[in-house]
């Protein structure tokens, strides 16, 4: 799967380690099998690979020197944050250096008046909000792994969370980046104002999955903590009605802070696990969180409550206090591990669809579930159309992982078919690289490769990830003929 062209020019591992010793202290270089082991995968453990060597730099000049060394010897460099990613974006390269940014773990400055925090990439997402709390501020994007995931990884993946509809993704909440290019040059992107001159490299780098540069510093935007937060829970006897209720809330001019949907299997799993008091006979529940000033929230709760009832909810509850609000959320937040208890393994998908196609997508998914003989539970960021189907399987049963991956691939292709995307927030990494061939035409992939080459002409940064080669797509496409046309007719078949 990974190219071997780097092999021919690569220096011996021992020579590389000697060279790294001139840059780093000994405990910042790992090369023994047992030391490399913890780095063999990220949050997507189905893919594993030991790197040649792991480095743990702690200064920008060290990163520059490492990258220059790798550039000189044409050694692949894979950057890694906390390793919580779900698409294998930080999967090591067998011939490469795994560059961990774990030691870049300092919050450098919180500028209260400007409402920004300047942080190193290894700082945990939640740690920023914790540090800003005493100033009445917080960092809005909250991926479910926020307790562990690092802000550098968030930028590399353009991470989302449950509050994206109102507060946006990582790209909407950062202001400046410092990156190291493959030439070892330190480049500052963005500005202290609300925009910067030239091309929007801040947007280009965000979500670029370590393909364009190594992020070594981030300035994030902070927001005032809302005065009040309130949540409603509504039960429905039909997922279609729940989907319509979401549209009705938005039509009424209300943008909730969070708007989450769970289907029956997810509800039952969550209830059995954390006893959040969910109605287990419901076909779907909606959690609608409203935040803002006290008056705004009071006004909107009444409106949303009425909309939910008018949309056919069988039950609507408003959290009476903060404890109950946390309880309502507890089930949703524990949904993944809860579903995990139903089965030895589960595979978390991440597609986005225009919400109007929800009934069709759920129906097709149910049919596929039967065809593949694998149950699927659905957790849905309903406000922004981001679907997380969880496929239940047993990796110990021969062929079941392969069947799960095939089923997952079908779900993503379905998302593309209805005008959506193969990844809402988890990234492409290695996991969805084949589905990129479904989402993009060859010319578009070629444009991506040209962008990559503008930053990294030798393709040393995270090679083999995020954007498939046209050859790979031809191989994949040979099995997937769309609309009766053979894709990539210009390429040789093998």
């Amino acid at each position: 799967m990974q190219t071997s062209k780097h092999n021919q020019t690569a220096i011996q591992r021992s020579t590389l380690i000697d060279a790294l010793r001139t840059i780093l202290v000994d405990d910042a270089i790992l090369f023994e099998q047992e030391d490399l082991k913890p780095y063999e995968c990220d949050g997507l453990s189905a893919y594993r690979q030991l790197p040649l060597v792991v480095v743990l730099p702690e200064t920008i000049p060290q990163v520059q020197a490492i990258v220059k060394l790798c550039q000189q010897h044409e050694i692949p460099v894979v950057a890694r944050g906390a390793g919580t990613g779900l698409s294998g974006g930080a999967l090591p390269h067998s011939e490469g250096v795994l560059l961990s940014l774990a030691r870049f773990n300092q919050i450098l400055d919180i500028n209260v008046q400007q409402r920004t925090a300047r942080v190193q990439p290894g700082v945990r997402n939640l740690a920023i909000s914790e540090a800003a709390k005493k100033f009445g501020l917080y960092y809005a994007p909250d991926p479910s792994s926020q307790i562990a995931c690092s802000i550098g990884g968030n930028v590399a993946e353009n991470s989302g969370g449950v509050h994206c509809l109102k507060y946006g993704l990582t790209v909407h909440n950062i202001q400046q980046l410092k990156i190291i290019t493959i030439d070892g040059e330190l480049i500052e992107i963005g500005a202290q104002g609300l925009d910067a001159p030239g091309y929007d490299l801040l947007a280009l780098l965000t979500g670029s999955e370590g393909m364009l540069g190594i992020i070594v510093e981030i300035t994030v935007t902070l927001l005032p903590i809302p005065e009040r937060v309130q949540v409603l829970l509504a039960a429905f006897d039909d997922v279609v009605k729940a989907g319509e209720a979401v549209g009705n809330i938005i039509s009424a001019g209300i943008i909730p802070a969070g708007l989450e949907m769970m289907d029956k299997l997810a509800i039952q799993a969550a209830e059995a696990f954390v006893h959040a008091g969910y109605p287990v006979d419901a076909e779907a529940i909606l959690l609608c969180e409203l935040d803002g000033t006290n008056e705004e929230v009071s006004a909107h709760i009444l409106t949303v409550r009425k909309i939910l009832q008018d949309s056919g909810a069988t039950e609507v509850r408003t959290a009476r206090d903060e404890t109950e609000r946390m309880t309502f959320w507890k089930g949703r937040k524990a949904a993944f591990p809860a579903v995990g208890r139903l089965s030895p393994d589960y595979y978390c998908m991440d597609g986005t669809i225009p919400r109007k196609h929800l009934p069709r997508v759920l129906k097709t998914m149910a049919d596929l579930s039967k065809a593949y003989g694998l149950p699927v539970a659905n957790v849905f960021h309903a406000g922004d159309g981001n679907l997380h189907p969880l496929i239940l399987y047993d990796a110990n049963k021969p062929g079941e992982l392969e069947r799960t991956e095939a089923f997952g691939g079908k779900i993503l292709e379905l998302c593309v078919e209805v005008g959506g995307t193969i990844t809402g927030e988890h990234g492409v990494g290695i996991e969805k690289i084949n589905q990129m061939c479904v989402q993009f035409k060859p010319l578009e992939l070629t444009q991506f490769h040209a962008i990559k080459a503008a930053f990294d002409p030798k393709g040393l940064l995270n090679p083999g990830k995020a954007v498939p080669t046209l050859h790979r797509c031809a191989e994949f496409g040979a099995m997937h003929i769309h609309h009766g046309e053979l894709p990539f007719p210009e390429l040789e078949r093998f």
């Binding site: 509809l165 364009l212 001019g253």
Partner: protein, 359 residues
């Protein structure tokens, strides 16, 4: 609006220009021609490429062809009680969606709701090789591939000819009011910074040197509570006032001196200039009409953590030949810009020199 799909004709023109290595100046409404350097090249007219292709109010998504008039889009949105939250300036009745996105211009709501680039979900464009490409889509969350849609937003046509743009739209605020307070500059900035730290429904701010204008938006009860808290007189004809700021029809913008736009750290103290300054975006955007040289303005902006743009050259400057309009980029950053330009437009045929001579 005359709906018309000119994608193929535009593509053929770009392909031909690319084969002949003959540059094009991309033009739609021609309302923002004053911004950036003049491009001396054949005109590629995008203005007839019009029409709203898809609008789903309940999904908060609109897709339109680039030549669609901004006013037509705003009318369609208003009919569903929605809006473009970045409040784009028009600078003329002929303003199009494509031009607005190509320039990434945002109005008074920007500091509180985000810029044009924050609302771009997807684009279809023709690159310099004449290839018809589609990036992003019509969904809020999409991390497949590089974010080309935001990269081309604000690139002023130097990376591609925009064909279609998908945007996130937002509901119109239920209620709005604008408060006026008479204060000095330091007090105005202090107040703006203090308020920004609190969860208040502020949606626009402007200080003209004497008066501080604050717009509040949201549920009527929330706006009334904030009105009590902040104090001040209620501004009559507030809608017209904010339009005059957005469209630069306010008296501040009158006169022949060059108009500079400084986008800087909001906390920057009052700038040391003799000329009048108009403040927006909580202090992060400052307009100055001054004869100070480019170098001085760029230095002032850089020191304040931001950048300067010669937004409208004065009468004298307009007749002279080129000086820098956008902030000079450091060498490393400029090199990346050149590489990216080449990746999209290897023969340099799309709006060459509009932003920087090198691009």
């Amino acid at each position: 609006m005359k709906e018309q799909d000119l994608s193929q004709a535009l593509q053929v023109q770009v392909q031909t220009a690319n084969e002949n290595k003959s540059p094009l100046q991309i033009r739609a409404g021609h309302s923002k021609a004053f911004l950036g350097h003049t491009v001396n090249a054949d005109i590629l007219d995008v203005s007839p490429h019009q029409g709203i292709i898809n609008y789903e109010p309940t999904e908060l998504v609109l897709t339109a062809r680039s030549g669609t008039l901004l006013s037509d889009i705003e009318i369609a949105l208003a009919a569903q009680n929605q809006m473009l939250a970045f409040e784009p300036p028009h600078f003329g009745d002929s303003a199009t969606l494509g031009g607005s996105i190509a320039c990434n211009l945002s109005g008074p709501r920007r500091a509180y709701a985000g810029a044009a680039r924050d609302y771009v979900l997807g684009t279809r464009l023709i690159n310099g090789k004449g290839e018809d490409l589609h990036f992003g889509g019509e969904v809020m969350k999409n991390v497949a591939g590089y974010d080309v849609s935001r990269l081309v937003t604000g690139a002023m046509g130097t990376l591609g000819v925009l064909l279609e743009i998908s945007l996130k739209v937002l509901p119109l605020p239920e209620f709005e009011t604008t408060l006026v307070q008479t204060v000095d500059t330091t007090t105005a900035l202090d107040k703006l910074h203090d308020w920004a730290l609190q969860p208040l429904p502020i949606s626009a701010s402007c200080f003209d040197g004497d008066q501080l204008m604050i717009r509040l938006s949201g549920a009527p009860t929330a706006v009334r509570a904030a009105t009590q808290k902040l104090g001040g007189e209620t501004l009559e004809n507030a809608g017209e006032f904010w339009r005059s700021i957005r469209e630069q029809r306010h008296e501040f913008f009158a006169g022949d001196k060059p108009l500079w736009r400084l986008s800087i750290a909001s906390t920057t103290p009052p700038l040391k200039v003799a000329d009048k300054v108009l403040y927006e975006w909580g202090g992060a955007l400052r307009w100055i009409k001054t004869d100070l040289p480019t170098q001085a303005m760029q230095h002032m902006a850089l020191t304040a953590g931001g950048h300067a743009t010669l937004f409208r050259p004065g009468q004298v400057q307009a007749q002279q030949q080129p000086q820098e309009i956008f902030q000079t980029l450091p060498d490393g950053l400029m090199q990346l810009h050149k590489n990216i330009k080449r990746a999209f437009d290897p023969n340099g045929i799309l709006n060459p020199g509009r932003v920087y001579p090198e691009l």
